[in-house]
Assembly symmetry: C2
Homo-oligomer: 138 residues x 2
DNA sequence: CCGATATCAGTGTTACTGACATTG
DNA sequence: CCAATGTCAGTACCACTGATATCG
């Protein structure tokens, strides 16, 4: 049953990833938001949520954490005062690189001896499934 | 980042699967335990936990639910009185088939237009990852 | 005494829901 | 008036931890 395999694999992945991130005091949400800011530049919270598939409510808490660590800055958008513009700081940039290197190690451990072509096909399929549901799933 | 894709896919999968199961009043744990009983016959709770990768504590609650619905029976093993032997009832057998058909539909929706060979390769890789960590992860 | 089993109580994370005030 | 945004409180499920009692 593929769905069971997917969730089992995800459980395993989450255990490894969470443990690795916990050692540097981060969470998956922290990484996702930092990476999105690095890729797309200053972004509103609602937009961050859409890009990372994270709920608006959870973005609030995540950004609170990141502001506290001086990894991002939150300021009101003067053009649309409903929105907060979140920007990555230099410290945040370094933080992201650190977290990414930790995740690289974890990834290698997770995928172990899977040969590269199979690994790439696997990633392609994951991406295809997600893309296929991109419209229906926020 | 593969691990991010895996967890995103799992989130999507869980949303679809949980929604489908909720409509028939079931959970993923219910399905896993019923399926394990169908495959392996009467089993102790600890063994169920190992087979399904579910914690012993959670097996207790799951079996409680299933006993309440008359889907399984729990009785003490006369050979080893520490153990409860859990057996699938006829009602439970029907329940399992019903849930499985619901999941089949969900699965088809999830995997959408992925061609069969790619689908099989995907499942193979999932299995390989899980097997590779079978020793380290209970 | 040690190990395995079942149970219970409780924790933490993730994902989500509903409500509200503010702004466009 | 309606829609979007940010915030807060609370819920549900999943995974896990620790303690306890029983039994082999």
């Amino acid at each position: 049953m593929p769905s069971w395999l997917i969730t089992q694999t995800a459980t395993l992945t989450n255990r490894l990833v969470s443990a690795a991130l916990a050692e540097v005091g981060a969470t998956r949400y922290h990484y996702a938001v930092l990476a999105a800011l690095d890729e797309f530049g200053p972004t509103s919270q609602a937009e961050l949520g859409r890009r990372c598939h994270i709920d608006r409510s959870d973005i609030v808490a995540t950004v609170n954490d990141l502001v506290e660590g001086r990894y991002v800055e939150r300021r009101q958008d003067s053009a649309d005062r409903r929105q907060n513009l979140i920007t990555l700081t230099n410290t945040g940039q370094q933080r992201l690189e650190h977290i990414a290197s930790v995740l690289d190690t974890t990834q290698a451990h997770l995928l172990g001896d899977i040969p590269k072509p199979e690994r790439e096909a696997f990633v392609t399929t994951l991406r295809r499934i997600l893309d296929h549901h991109a419209g229906t799933a926020q």
